[in-house]
């Protein structure tokens, strides 16, 4: 159904990050927000994406924000880096979703909700690290990879899943000895993202705990946050609720803190 060759072909086809993006990230890393905004201006699609993103309800701005330097100024260095990475990941999304009932707008909403809530979590954990803040941006890549690999096999997968509760990650692991999160890591390497991002996302799979205590803790929060989002009505309807396996035991020790933070009654 899915072969290692197919996965390799998929990764090979991922284009390198556009120059304007690379430059924007580079300048953001140096803390030069104004220069970064200038670099971002040259990529019209990025400009439109950022404008659309920060004006979503979840960001809570009263007035429309349209100028890139203004957006970067509001978001700060780490928030801007997170937003640019979100845009990079969105470049991988298909023009038409088939496996999941998503579209460009609903995928952006998912990205925005994850990013905003991840910021809340990091504030609660008193972590100020722009790479850790950006780690959440790689997580939705697992959804895009599932879509890309399985969209031609929807019927097969559906029939298989009537006989056995197998999630896409497990199917891929059993067939190719490589899972969705390994592919996300490959993407992050190709796009020269900081290695910490991939480490946290690997841990957030829930099946590969990290030996690094801090990474593992962040992996747990990210795993639970993912399922909190995947339990939202629009994501359940999109068919995302069971695309990977929720590891309830893995998040046992942080659940209470999470539910308090998210105000879950």
């Amino acid at each position: 159904m899915i072969t290692t060759q197919k996965i390799n072909n998929y990764i090979d086809k991922i284009p390198p990050a556009p120059l304007a993006l690379k430059k924007t990230i580079f300048l953001l890393n140096k803390g030069e927000l104004i220069q970064a905004a200038k670099a971002a201006q040259s990529d019209l699609a990025l400009k439109a994406y950022l404008k659309n993103l920060v004006n979503k309800a979840v960001y809570g701005f009263k007035n429309e924000v349209s100028d890139i330097s203004q957006i970067f100024g509001i978001l700060g260095v780490s928030g801007s880096q997170q937003a640019v990475y979100n845009y990079m990941i969105s470049l991988l999304s298909p023009s038409k979703w088939q496996l999941f009932k998503l579209n460009a707008s609903s995928f952006e909403n998912l990205q925005a909700n994850l990013s905003k809530k991840w910021q809340m979590i990091l504030a609660h954990l008193e972590i100020k690290d722009k790479d850790i803040e950006s780690a959440i941006t790689l997580l939705p890549a697992s959804i895009i990879v599932s879509e890309a690999l399985f969209c031609e096999k929807i019927e097969d997968v559906n029939i298989l899943r009537t006989a056995k509760a197998l999630d896409y990650n497990t199917i891929l692991q059993r067939l190719c000895n490589k899972d969705l999160f390994d592919i996300c890591e490959q993407i992050s390497i190709k796009w020269e993202m900081p290695s910490k991002i991939a480490q946290i996302v690997q841990a957030s799979s829930g099946v590969k705990p990290s030996e690094n205590e801090e990474i593992d803790k962040l992996g747990k929060w990210m795993h639970l946050l993912l399922f909190y989002e995947l339990s939202q009505a629009q994501n359940i309807e999109a068919g995302l609720n069971d695309f990977i396996d929720f590891q309830v035991e893995y998040i046992g020790d942080i659940y209470e803190a999470f539910s308090t933070l998210m105000d879950i009654a």
């Binding site: 096999k153 029939i159 298989l160 009537t162 509760a165 067939l175 399922f227």
Partner: protein, 464 residues
């Protein structure tokens, strides 16, 4: 969201947070309709992957339970819950609880009468005395040995004894149990469960088309689990007499187990015996007696008297059958299939060693049977995706092979439906060796297609 079906139990496994109005997103109208049409005797919603729920969150599933039970009398409920979740569900629904709650899926299966796991030693406790009795009766009826703890301290004391019980039941509540003519397979015997009053309704609730096609596929032993039957009237007597006559044409045996004749005229038993039906007191009297099983036909199929020939209708659809099979095996093994030849004749298997087989019947607009013969190593590879690891346990491989053939059957059904041909599929039958398969296929002509998967030979046979 759709249920995963195994051993006559359909199970939903939602994940994450069930609150507010979200759960209606889990179940569309089509999902509920499809669940109501499932041929299962239990529908469960597992809460093992749910970290938070409230009453609103469970309501969509509870509404589905009511619809399913009204449609097909299946037992319905939640499973995989801890004490906190158990108490929460009881609190939410209080006196209005009309579904069951099982602490684990394993406990639920004890009440679904899966004879594969029968004769388990079970310790049970519930604060509610009537619940304790109800559970004990159900378990006993299903062939288990329940021990009731009368108090919590007695329960804790007994439960602490290591390895004293196969299963320990607590945090479990029995709602209304199903009344369906349920079907399950153990070995190669088909067991139907009947209960309460057997009257003219049996003609409506018993799936005669399914039964006939099970005969055609090669099942030869049909057991009616009648422990819970209160009485039988003349209409039911006529129904079973006719069923026995038609079974005789296939050399098949029909048995009744646990039937009590206190409220049924004894002459009925004589009439049924005259028509060829056998009576046993206990299920074990049949299932644990290998010699008797063999004699009754559950180990192999006997020759069929009225052999049928393949017809144009089936041959026209051959590409669909091949496509479904090839696509499934390719999907499960990640290999490429090559078709070698296709011919019409009796089944010819050149090398019979290290091969296993499975068959599945289909009926409806067209009817027939697909037989798949696998080299054991391909079967093991194909089942690896379902099992999750390599195994040499042949029983597990045969079980998984049955699931795989079920997937093939499901795919055939879908492909045929695309051409407006509606069929249902029977339960799959497995054959641990070729000799047992040949007893079924002897004298049957069909289309044999030899395929190879990465040079491993694989045989597909389509017959009626």
């Amino acid at each position: 969201m759709r249920a995963i079906v195994k051993n006559g139990i359909g199970i939903f496994i939602p994940q994450g947070f069930l609150d507010g109005n979200k759960t209606s997103s889990f179940l569309s109208i089509e999902d509920i309709e499809a669940t109501s049409n499932l041929k299962v005797d239990m529908i469960l919603v597992s809460l093992k992957k749910v970290v938070f729920f409230n009453r609103n969150g469970l309501d969509a599933f509870v509404k589905m339970f009511l619809k399913v039970r009204a449609a097909n009398h299946a037992t319905v409920g939640f499973c995989d819950i801890d004490k906190k979740k158990y108490n929460a569900i009881l609190k939410f629904y209080k006196d209005d609880i009309n579904f069951s709650i099982f602490k684990t899926e394993e406990i639920a299966t004890l009440f679904a009468a899966n004879y594969k796991n029968q004769n388990r030693s079970v310790l049970l406790y519930s604060e509610d005395k009537s619940q304790r009795s109800a559970m004990a009766i159900e378990l006993h009826d299903n062939g288990h040995n329940p021990v009731i703890a009368q108090s919590e301290s007695e329960f804790l004391n007994k439960a602490s004894a290591q390895n004293a019980y196969d299963v320990i039941i607590e945090d479990t509540y029995l709602g209304q149990m199903g009344q369906k003519v349920a079907t399950r397979v153990t070995g190669n015997a088909i067991i139907y469960t009947v209960s309460s009053f057997l009257d003219v309704e049996i003609g409506n609730t018993f799936n005669i088309a399914y039964h006939n096609n099970s005969l055609n596929v090669g099942f030869r032993l049909f057991i009616f689990d009648a422990y819970k039957v209160v009485s039988m009237n003349i209409h039911a007597l006529n129904f079973f007499s006719k069923l026995a006559s038609s079974a005789a044409e296939y050399n098949a045996t029909i048995c009744f187990v646990g039937m009590n004749f206190e409220k049924t005229p004894p002459t009925f038993k004589e009439t049924l015996e005259d028509s060829g039906i056998m009576f046993f007191e206990q299920m074990d009297d049949i299932l644990q007696d290998k010699e008797l099983l063999k004699e009754l036909g559950a180990s192999a199929g006997a020759n069929i008297k009225n052999k049928r020939v393949i017809n144009k209708g089936i041959v026209t659809e051959l590409p669909n059958f091949i496509d479904a099979t090839v696509a499934t095996i390719e999907m499960m093994t990640n290999s490429k299939a090559a078709k070698e030849k296709a011919e019409v004749h009796d089944i010819i298997i050149e090398q019979t060693k290290d091969k296993i087989a499975s068959s599945i019947g289909f009926y409806g607009d067209i009817d027939g049977m697909v037989i798949l013969v696998f080299p054991t190593n391909i079967a093991k590879t194909a089942c690896e995706l379902l099992i999750g690891e390599k195994t040499d346990d042949m029983e597990l491989v045969l079980d998984s092979l049955a699931e795989l053939v079920n997937i093939v059957g499901g795919k055939i059904k879908t492909l045929l439906l695309d051409e407006d041909i509606s069929v249902d599929i029977t339960l799959p039958r497995t054959y641990p060796n070729i000799e047992s398969l040949l007893e079924i296929t002897q004298g049957r002509k069909g289309v044999q297609v030899d395929l190879s998967f990465d040079n491993d030979k694989f045989l597909f046979f389509l017959t009626r």
